[in-house]
């Protein structure tokens, strides 16, 4: 099956977008670092379930995001702690805390698994959002590939930023030397680097949805885009503001 075939789409969608989405779908279906292919697809499906979850809607308007008890509208294939995490990332992400991440680890979902789960959720969600914003149905999820997760963990990590260990700004070396250049690193680039492939996956999507790391240095007009940098940043800023994102 050919995924992301935009030949009959209502709008002229760039070929590099379709290519990047197809490439991500292949990675999504394959075993990751801490979840197998079937689990990664289940995480992706759960990111879609969250949008229609009655309990999430109730919790979103609750004063305390951790006091309300209930059951999510969910599919099978993931432990309860993972279901709750996926739903929270989609519907109430600004109230995730260090304690929540720590408690999840105590319940059996390691910080490494948490980071990979976040990576899958946000990648699939952003692709789905692209479709929804253009009035198109979401893409059929791929069939999982067999195999076991690699268990890969970077050699150089630090605990000085955020909820989980991350590769330090000067730590993109060895197997991770492709992640960023020595003179270009922000916290958001480091955020998912406990699972380097999670960072690589969102970077490849950002290249086509927004700008490449190199392109981010250009504050005028990227030749491959129809909107200039100010127009991009207005869109980015409004989306971030509605989501109440301080970063």
């Amino acid at each position: 099956m050919t995924y992301f075939d935009y030949s009959n789409a209502a709008y002229p969608i760039r070929g590099d977008i379709a290519d990047a989405y197809r490439a991500y779908w292949r990675k999504l279906a394959a075993p990751g670092s801490w979840w197998n292919g079937a689990q990664r697809i289940a995480i992706a499906q759960e990111s879609r379930n969250a949008l229609a979850c009655t309990f999430c809607a109730q919790r979103k308007v609750s004063l305390s995001p951790y006091g309300l008890k209930g059951e999510h509208d969910h599919s099978n294939g993931l432990p309860e702690v993972a279901v709750d995490t996926v739903h929270r990332i989609i519907t109430d992400q600004s109230r995730i805390t260090q304690s929540y991440v720590n408690d999840n680890a105590a319940l059996g979902m390691s910080v490494e698994a948490y980071v990979e789960l976040v990576g899958v959720v946000v990648a699939v969600f952003s692709i789905d959002e692209f479709h929804r914003s253009l009035g198109m149905p979401v893409e059929l999820l791929p069939q999982p590939e067999p195999g076991e997760p690699s268990g890969y963990r970077p050699a150089v990590l630090s605990d000085d930023t955020g909820f989980v260990p991350m590769i330090p700004a000067d730590g993109a070396v060895g197997n991770e030397s492709d992640l960023w250049s020595p003179d270009f690193c922000a916290n958001v680039l480091r955020a998912l680097t406990l699972v380097p492939d999670a960072m690589r996956e969102w970077r490849d999507l950002a290249d086509v949805q927004y700008l490449s790391f190199t392109g981010m240095q250009n504050f005028f007009q990227d030749e491959a885009r129809s909107i200039n940098r100010m127009q991009m940043e207005l869109v980015a800023g409004r989306v971030s503001s509605v989501n109440e994102c301080f970063y």
Binding site: I17, S133, L134, V188, N228, R238, S240, N243
Partner: protein, 119 residues
């Protein structure tokens, strides 16, 4: 980044467009009000508003602009969730530009400000 790009482009913009003010969004930015409304309706997940804002942007700017704007909006639907799920602080909280934008848009009211502005 909007303020920085406007400064480099030597263009007067009104940062309140990020906060949802239509006339501010238009200042110095072509199709600014339509782009802002489109981004807002994507993030709010309001299907009725999204349909209307998509058509409005299409009417004034054309399909190429619409598709690229959809890409940016989708990208930042992802990025805000990465930042908040990982609890990362803003990189340069003491920069004058950052403080100015923070004050003008009242960003400290956001729950996720706690990752940067720790007591």
């Amino acid at each position: 980044m909007l303020r920085a790009s406007a400064k480099i482009n030597e263009t007067d913009i009104d940062i309140q467009g990020v906060g949802g003010d239509v006339s501010s969004a238009s200042q110095g930015i072509e199709f600014g009000s339509q782009l802002m409304r489109f981004a807002e309706s994507v993030a709010n997940r309001d299907s009725q508003a999204l349909g209307a804002s998509r058509q409005a942007l299409l009417d004034v700017a054309g399909p190429l602009v619409l598709v690229d704007a959809a890409g940016v909006a989708a990208n930042f639907q992802r990025m805000v969730r990465i930042a908040d799920s990982m609890g990362i602080p803003y990189d340069n909280p003491d920069s004058s530009l950052g403080q100015q934008v923070r004050d003008e848009l009242n960003l400290t009211a956001f729950a996720s400000a706690r990752h940067t502005l720790k007591p």
